[in-house]
Amino acid sequence: MNRPVLTRLGGLAAFTAAAGMASSPVLAQAVGVNAAIRNKVIIVGAATKKARPAVLRERVILNDEVRTGAASQLQILLLDRTTFTVGANARVAVDRFVYDPARNSRSTGVSVTRGAFRFMSGRALGRPSGPATVRTPVATIGVRGTIFEGVVGEDAIRIAEHEAAVGKKVKAKKEEASLIVLRGPGPRTQGDTGPGAIDVTVGASQVTLDRPGLALYAPRVGAPPIGPFPISSAGLLALQSLLRTTAEPGGGGKKKGGTDEALLGAAGVAAVVGGGLILGGKKKRRPPERPQSGKSPNSPN
């Protein structure tokens, strides 16, 4: 996660876009806002290393780590209108962000060490987005104006092994396995939105995904990537369940050992996360909570 910091908010438009952050002492590092929160989402400050619950409309700071629990999601809206959705059981950080609308200069870097995610390129000021990179433990994904999803870890293995192109015999590492799926826009996209693509680099290999539904699986460092292959509807549905916005159960499910305590690590902090009260790693259950997109006790207003 320790990458060169390239955050810059230059030009009047950038200032205007960031006007709401003027009261924040961390103006230079703010890259976006928490746009929607569902269930348990923790932010670990890059500078303080302290964990705190995510709050709707709170600024997203460069290199802060997002940690989500089971059946939990966070949507981050970056200043260039790129949308990054973090799914269940994830660890994610925005580690590079350049946004200078005066020069139409944009660049984004995100690291995903675990969990599911969805990336949707932004179109700030009516212009297509700049280059963006999403890194997983085994793959680097170069984004060319598109929507794609991925999952890192055990869920990637679980989904991929049911795909005909992969199967159960592939040796994978649960800390590294990455499944990446392009969603669109495809070649038959309507309106003035052009087709998008992603270039996935795994070791010395580079594979381009340029049609919706194409997937690539990288099981571990040193192994060649598998694909591209068309993901099955069952596979896509399984991936979607980690990013799901329905009220149905799913979203990754609760794993043995509990994710919630791990979210806070050894920080030993007290935090009210959605409806779950966490005290020094021990938690008392409260009734299920509403997502923070609507009015919520955790909302700033």
Partner: protein, 127 residues
């Protein structure tokens, strides 16, 4: 001092006229609009009209975080996926609406974007 004030006023005016300053483009406004169902869907429709299809998709995703059981935004979301050439994704979204009542007018929007699509059954299939 007066010149400085004039400069600041001028800059403020430019900022207000700047596209970035519009209610539709400011991150806080985009988030606030999606805290209510109607204003969120209205924002998505404005983004669609402005050809910002991925922006509209992000807006509807936020709406669906808060209102996962409401049918019209999910239909609009599925329509957008079709317009972005993600028919497989659209079919999965529509599959989530099995057992829900869908207004003919709302369904017409889906078929306009997607062409012929299997309409989700009114009764949820038995598992």
């Amino acid at each position: 001092m007066v010149r400085m004030l004039r400069l600041l006023l001028g800059l403020s005016a430019v900022a207000l006229l700047s596209p970035a300053a519009s209610a539709q483009d400011d991150p806080d406004s985009l988030v606030t609009a999606t805290r209510q169902l109607d204003s969120g869907v209205a924002l998505a429709r404005r983004q669609i009209a402005a050809n910002d299809l991925t922006g509209a998709l992000g807006t509807l995703e936020r709406v669906l975080f808060a209102y996962p059981e409401v049918v019209p935004p999910r239909l609009l979301y599925a329509s957008l996926l079709c317009r972005l050439d993600d028919r497989q994704g659209a079919e999965l979204e529509l599959g989530l609406l099995a057992g829900k009542a869908i207004a003919d007018s709302d369904w017409a929007g889906v078929t306009a974007a997607c062409g012929a699509m299997p309409r989700p059954p009114r009764k949820r299939p038995k598992r």
